[in-house]
């Protein structure tokens, strides 16, 4: 009997991992369907949730027909993958042409350095370099809580971008954006049953249609989705 215990425990653990994965996946499928069904009835005020002050500044034209809202974590490997493999093509083909704009919402849950890194981007925003700082973090990413996103390193990146180092250090040491990051986390909890990063919501401001893309999906998926919404 004793010999069976590790087998049973291993089996339960595998079943738990697979079970949670599939339950969450199924929930996402249902959620997307519900989003589609409710798309036209979403009140404008609710859609404006995504323009709350605690998200990023808008990347691209504020008059773009579609807004892509990315929920991401600076320590997330898949967000890093998306940043390096898909985001550039979206910017070249849709953002620079004025059809789409992008907003980043922090869903900082992967370790203790994630919320600090998220706060650092808002501190950089005070000096008008949100997106530059956002990009530098995805170029520097090296894993989870292994030092690359410690406070001292975040201050070094600010120096690399020639930000005012004293102002940046005061901002990050004060933790003045901690509540913003928590609010973003709560917003993700309201929108998604099983939050994950990166998750993208595509809003068509004219028709009210909303689409959701979960994960670091390739450019072709974004092309199909965006083109079907335009």
């Amino acid at each position: 009997m004793n010999k069976l215990i590790p087998v049973i425990i291993s089996g339960i653990a595998i079943a738990l991992i697979v079970g949670v994965g599939f339950t969450s996946y199924y929930a996402q499928v249902v959620e997307v369907q519900e989003l589609r069904d409710k798309a036209l009835s979403i009140p404008k005020a609710e859609r404006q949730l995504l323009n709350l002050g605690h998200s990023s500044p808008v990347l691209g034209s504020t008059n773009a027909q579609i807004t892509i809202v990315e929920f991401g974590d600076y320590q997330c490997e898949m967000c890093h993958m998306w940043f390096h493999n898909t985001r550039g093509a979206i910017i070249d083909n849709y953002v620079d042409t004025g059809k789409v704009n992008i907003i980043f919402v922090d869903l900082a849950f992967l370790g203790s350095d994630s919320p600090i890194a998220a706060q650092a981007t808002h501190c950089a925003n005070e000096q008008g370099k949100y997106w530059e700082y956002h990009s530098i973090l995805y170029y520097k990413q090296e894993g989870i809580d292994n030092g690359w996103a410690s406070k001292s390193m975040l201050k070094e990146y600010a120096n690399e971008l020639k930000l005012n180092s004293n102002q940046f250090a005061d901002c990050i040491d004060s933790g003045k954006y901690a509540k913003n990051i928590q609010d973003s986390y709560n917003l993700a909890g309201q929108l998604m049953e099983y939050p994950s990063t990166p998750t993208f919501y595509l809003f068509n401001h004219q028709s009210g249609v909303v689409e959701k893309i979960s994960g670091a999906q390739p450019f072709s998926v974004f092309v199909k989705t965006i083109d079907s919404m335009l």
Partner: protein, 143 residues
């Protein structure tokens, strides 16, 4: 039959959790060059599990032998599965938000050492494969 169930039962969930296969909004298999090795390891772990686990089930049922090898092979599979469950996905969020800082540390460890852990998993499965093959051929000869 059991081997096919184990292979597909491991390969598809692990590939979906590791974001190599997407079903929504379209079915797509997406393996970038930098993650090709990781994908190959998932394939190899699923393949080895599909061979090793049925062999040990046979060993237990037909030859009435000990369960230690199937325990080891399941541990191998679980290491691969745990390291494969992407930390930024819903599984990672569920584990971290439910179990707190300790789970966060475990998730960070599994993510930071994903490739070595999968290699260990594959190594364990290979060792179990060779010892089981040897043991089955010896036991069958005796019988």
């Amino acid at each position: 039959m059991i081997a096919a169930v184990i292979f597909f039962g491991m390969f598809f969930p692990l590939s979906i959790l590791s974001e190599f296969i997407f079903i929504e909004p379209f079915f797509i298999i997406y393996v970038t060059t930098e993650l090709a090795f990781s994908f190959a390891l998932i394939l190899a772990i699923s393949f080895m599990s599909a061979i090793v686990i049925p062999m040990n089930i046979y060993r237990i049922k037909i030859l009435r032998k000990k369960t230690s090898k199937i325990g080891t092979s399941l541990i191998g599979a679980i290491i691969g599965a745990s390291a494969g469950a992407c930390s930024c996905g819903p599984v990672g969020f569920f584990i971290i938000s439910t179990f707190g800082a300790g789970a966060g540390f475990a998730t960070a460890f599994l993510t930071n050492y994903e490739i070595p852990l999968r290699l260990i998993s594959l190594g364990l499965l290979c060792v179990v494969y060779f010892t089981t093959t040897k043991s089955i051929s010896t036991e069958c000869r005796i019988r």
